[in-house]
Structure formats: structure tokens, C-alpha cells
Amino acid sequence: MIAAAPGVAVGPELRARLADLYCAYDDALNDGALERWPALFTEACVYKVIPRENFEQGYPVALIYCESRTMLMDRVVALRETALFAPRIARRISSGVCLRAIEPDGLRLTASFAVFQTMQDQPSELFLCGRCQDRVVEDGGTLRFAERLCIYDSTIVPTSLVYPI
């Protein structure tokens, strides 16, 4: 379900295409199909995972800071081939996706997210929650993220952020 802010005119077709994009994003991560994840972004995309305190104070440092689709691919390869980490399952749930504005450089959307984490032999726990600020564009007939900021609410990350959110 994609909502629209008051005064933002959006037809059923665009709503459906946006819903498909948001669903495909969560699916790629929840299926453990990281290789599908970069394709949901444009070539010159910006993707950041940033604590709310940095975002609100204008500090630029982000936990993950990617400035192109190939940087996203590099991170996927690094996770697959180089990183050491304890086995875990991450589950991302998006909610309250809202089209805020339609601007010349793309569609502005926000959404809440929650990521649950299940470590081996442990109960599932809430890992991070927060909101996304997105810019979505038409890219060769497909809707893609030109910008996705994942702003998480807590200051603390439990141990490590392994998979993108």
C-alpha cells in the first residue's frame, strides 16, 4: 500500500509500480538475495545508513555510504567473499510508505522500517528501526531508487550491521 500526502495527485498505476518496488526491495534482503539489491538503484545512486543523531545535527558520517550502484555491488561482494561474521537472519519490514511530493528530479517518498535479527540459537530481536527518505526515478522504463537514506532511531547498533537495510 502506497499512501500519498495531501495534495499529491497519483494514479493507481504509479501507486502499484511503487508498491512493487518497495516490495522487491524488502524481498531481495529477506530472501538473502543480496545480488538483486543493487539492481533496484540507479547507476549514480546514493545509499546511506545513518544514525538519527548524525542526520539531525547535519553530521555527514554514515555507517554505509555508497555513491554509485557499483559501490553497492562492491559491498555485496565484500560481504560474500571477505567479511567474517556470525550467522544471522535479518528481516526487513516496511510500513507507512508515503509519496510526499512529485518533483522534477523524482518522486519523494518516506517509509518506516523495522529490521529484526535472528542469531543462531537465539530468539528473534528487534535490531534497528527508523525511517527511509527516498527519491525514486524512472530509469529506462523501470522505477529505481536514486537516493535512499536509512535513518535509524537508536544511537546504538547491536554488535554489527552486516547486511544492508
Binding site: P51, N54, A62, E67, T70, M73, F85
Partner: protein, 412 residues
């Protein structure tokens, strides 16, 4: 602080600092003694950067050891470090994580303190219509916020719960001071932001990790493959005279197969970044070294890996858990390109860092192996049993140095 047992609660194994008994990572009594003797005594603890609180009234909350403090710049421009605890009923007087204040007012009964922690006012101190109030002998000057000894050098603030009998410069020692001044050379610093993670392991494992150059060549594919830190490179491990502080120093090498990289499973000759902007380091400090990781007893790691600079503050929580608080910074006179380079290279560091992710996960797995094996000990014998400075990386000498000092402080 809880009362400490007079006698040593445990016996250290015979082999001196080349063995670290597992109970130092698990025993709550040992942890309580650490809060007292390591974090609560006369040592200088890292607090914050001056750039975080540039103007009078600016404050930042934080933790020293496991106690809440407020670092605040006073009206005279000096930084005060105050325990965040009202002298009346122990409520936290400051709830904002940062901001600007003219005074601190406890929300409970509005006891009011100035920026140096002096008690300014107590509502109804004289009672109401001749009834109640504080006794005549109540002296406000005896009921200020606890104020710590504070010192600073080149924009970095340190404080102590005790009464340090040495200056910060003497405390660091000449050799460590030289490395400290290499990054903090007096230029004005710019804060780039924070990262923070809670790691389910004993806090000492974090120090050991940054005092152990041996693991870096085996665990970290990123460091090894791109030659950021690898044991075939010209390197050094140096300590101060006590062994409590240390640096790992190295310089960048090539992505090439040689006698050393052939032994490293982590070395991937063909691994290349599709977007090389992530790793585009430029030399910015005098001398050959491209990485200097400095561990300063008892709560700070100064990270200079290529162009990513950060203070990593250790906040112990209990025997099996600590928080690692990262403050990334650059210099006010950085070019936009250098600033961008620092932000890109931050991808290697922090809770999601392509390098340091390996470390937080390794600490989690170390603690899991340590737990419930208190009779066992870790072997720290790479490079022998001595505590000496070395010009190579195949050594655990700085971990031995740390425990040599730790044992004397802890009387273990």
C-alpha cells in the same frame, strides 16, 4: 563503587603475561575492581573533542568508565567534566545528549547548578512562612555536582575521577606523545559524526584487538588485499615505558603475491573494487607511516587508517559487554575532496565497516568461546614472552605489555 575484597580474588597462571586467564573476561568481581582501579583512579580518561562543544554553555553527555558525565564549556571558556548526578537525590540533572545551557536544573526538585557544577539554588531552602526548609548548617558549597580533574591537549579533552599526579604529557610518555601529536598537531578539528555499537564481549578484547597486528594479516581481507595493513610491510609495535599505551605503525604495500601474502588466505590477488573511489588514500601526515593505531589506557583508541580518523572510546558495561563510541573527525582546513575521501573511507570502519565488522564479530565469537571456560587461559606468545618494542608485526608484545600493566594496577 562497591567495596573491594582486600585479597586478590584469583591466581594468575604461572607463565606471566604470555597467558591471560579466561576469568579476566568473565568475573563480575574482577570487573568491579576494574571500575575502581582502572577507570576510577588517577588515570586520564578520554572525554571528547573540544570541537564538539566549541562555545560557552555547549555541553555533551557521555560515559567515563560506566558513569554518566557531562562535558560542558564554562563561561570562562574552560571545559568542565561533571558527574550527571544531582547532589540531592541522585537524579540525572541533564537528559539531553547535547545542547547549550546556562545552568543545569534538576527536574525533580529544581536544585540548580552553574556550568562548573556549583550549587546555586535550592527551592524553599529557608522553608515557607518560617516552617521547614534546609537546616541552617546546610552549606551549598558542599553539595555541588562531582567535578573531575580535566586536562586537554590540541583539542582533545581528558578527565580523571582521581587526583592525577602526572600531567597528560608525562602520562602518555614522550614516544606516545609524538604519535598523538602527529594527528593532533594543533590544527582545528571538524567533527564528521558518530557511530556507536554495543559489543557482547569484555572491553579488554577491544584493546587486545588493536594491540595485535598478527590478526590483521589473517582476518581482514580488505586490509591484506589492498595492502593497508599487512605483516610484510615495514611496521612497528611500540609502547610507553609501562606497557599501558601502544601504537601499531605501518605503511601501505602493493597488491602482490610474495612470500608473506602466499601464507595469507585472506590475500585475494584478483579481488578488485568496481568503484575504486572507496579506496583512494592520499598521504597527509609527515613520514612514511600510512596507518597508526594508538591504544591509550584505559579507554581510547586513536585511529588513523589512511585518511579515516576517529576516536574510539571504550565504555565498559559489565564483564561481558561494552559500548564502542566512534567520533569521526577531520580538520577544518580539509579540502572538499579530502572531506569526501574521509567519508568514503569510513565505509571500512564502524559497526558496518568492511574491516572493523570482522573485529566486532570476532569479539562476539571470542567471548562465546571464553564463557564457561574460566579454568583455561589464552596464549599470547607470538614473538616470545618479553614485553619489548618490535620492528615487525609477527608479535603479541603489546598485549603482553597491556597485561603487565593491568596486573600491577589490579594486583593480580
Amino acid at each position: 563503587m562497591s567495596a573491594q575484597p582486600a585479597a586478590s580474588p584469583r591466581e594468575w597462571p604461572d607463565d606471566g603475561p604470555s597467558r591471560v586467564p579466561n576469568w579476566v573476561y568473565t568475573d563480575p568481581q574482577i570487573f568491579a575492581r576494574e571500575l575502581d582501579r582502572v577507570f576510577g583512579a588517577n588515570d586520564w580518561l578520554y572525554v571528547c573533542l573540544e570541537a564538539e562543544i566549541p562555545k560557552p554553555g555547549d555541553f555533551k553527555r557521555g560515559q567515563l568508565g560506566n558513569r554518566e558525565v557531562i562535558a560542558v564549556r564554562g563561561t570562562d571558556g574552560a571545559v568542565n567534566v561533571l558527574v550527571n548526578r544531582c547532589a540531592h537525590r541522585s537524579m540525572q540533572v541533564c537528559t539531553a545528549s547535547r545542547g547549550s545551557a546556562k545552568e543545569f536544573v534538576c527536574p525533580y526538585h529544581q536544585w540548580t547548578y552553574d556550568l562548573a557544577g556549583n550549587l546555586l539554588g535550592v527551592p524553599f531552602r529557608r522553608g515557607y512562612r518560617g516552617q521547614g526548609g534546609m537546616p541552617d548548617y546546610f552549606r551549598p558549597e558542599e553539595h555541588g555536582l562531582q567535578r573531575l580533574a580535566v586536562t586537554h591537549r590540541h583539542g582533545v579533552v581528558f578527565a580523571s575521577f582521581g587526583a592525577p599526579n602526572e600531567s597528560l604529557e608525562t602520562y602518555l610518555g614522550e614516544r606516545m606523545l609524538g604519535y598523538f601529536d602527529r594527528v593532533f598537531d594543533g590544527r582545528e578539528l571538524e567533527v564528521l559524526g558518530y557511530m556507536r555499537q554495543r559489543i557482547p564481549s569484555n572491553w579488554k578484547l577491544m584493546f587486545e584487538n588493536i594491540k595485535d597486528p598478527y590478526h590483521a594479516s589473517l582476518l581482514h581481507v580488505f586490509l591484506v588485499t589492498f595492502g593497508l595493513f599487512r605483516l610484510d610491510q615495514q611496521s612497528a609495535v611500540e609502547m610507553d615505558d609501562t606497557g599501558r599505551h601502544a601504537v601499531l605503525v605501518s605503511r601501505r604495500g602493493a597488491q602482490e603475491t610474495n612470500e608473506a601474502t602466499a601464507q595469507m588466505r585472506a590475500f585475494k590477488r584478483d579481488f578488485a573494487l568496481r568503484d575504486p573511489r572507496l579506496l583512494d588514500p592520499v598521504r597527509e601526515f609527515p613520514g612514511d607511516a600510512t596507518v597508526v593505531m594508538q591504544t591509550l589506557w584505559p579507554n581510547l583508541i586513536v585511529q588513523q587508517q589512511s585518511n579515516t580518523l576517529a576516536m574510539r572510546q571504550i565504555v565498559p558495561r559489565d564483564a561481558r559487554s561494552f559500548d564502542l563510541a566512534w567520533t569521526f573527525f577531520g580538520y577544518v582546513d580539509d579540502t572538499p575532496e579530502m572531506r569526501q575521501r574521509r567519508l568514503r573511507q569510513a565505509n571500512l570502519m564502524g559497526p558496518a565497516g568492511l574491516v572493523s565488522l570482522d573485529d566486532s564479530e570476532a569479539m562476539l565469537l571470542s567471548q562465546a568461546g571464553i564463557d564457561n571456560n574460566d579454568d583455561e587461559a589464552c596464549v599470547v606468545e607470538m614473538g616470545g614472552r618479553a614485553v619489548v618494542n618490535e620492528r615487525h608485526m609477527v608479535t603479541e608484545t603489546a598485549i603482553r605489555g597491556f597485561y603487565q600493566h593491568y596486573r600491577s594496577v589490579m594486583e593480580l
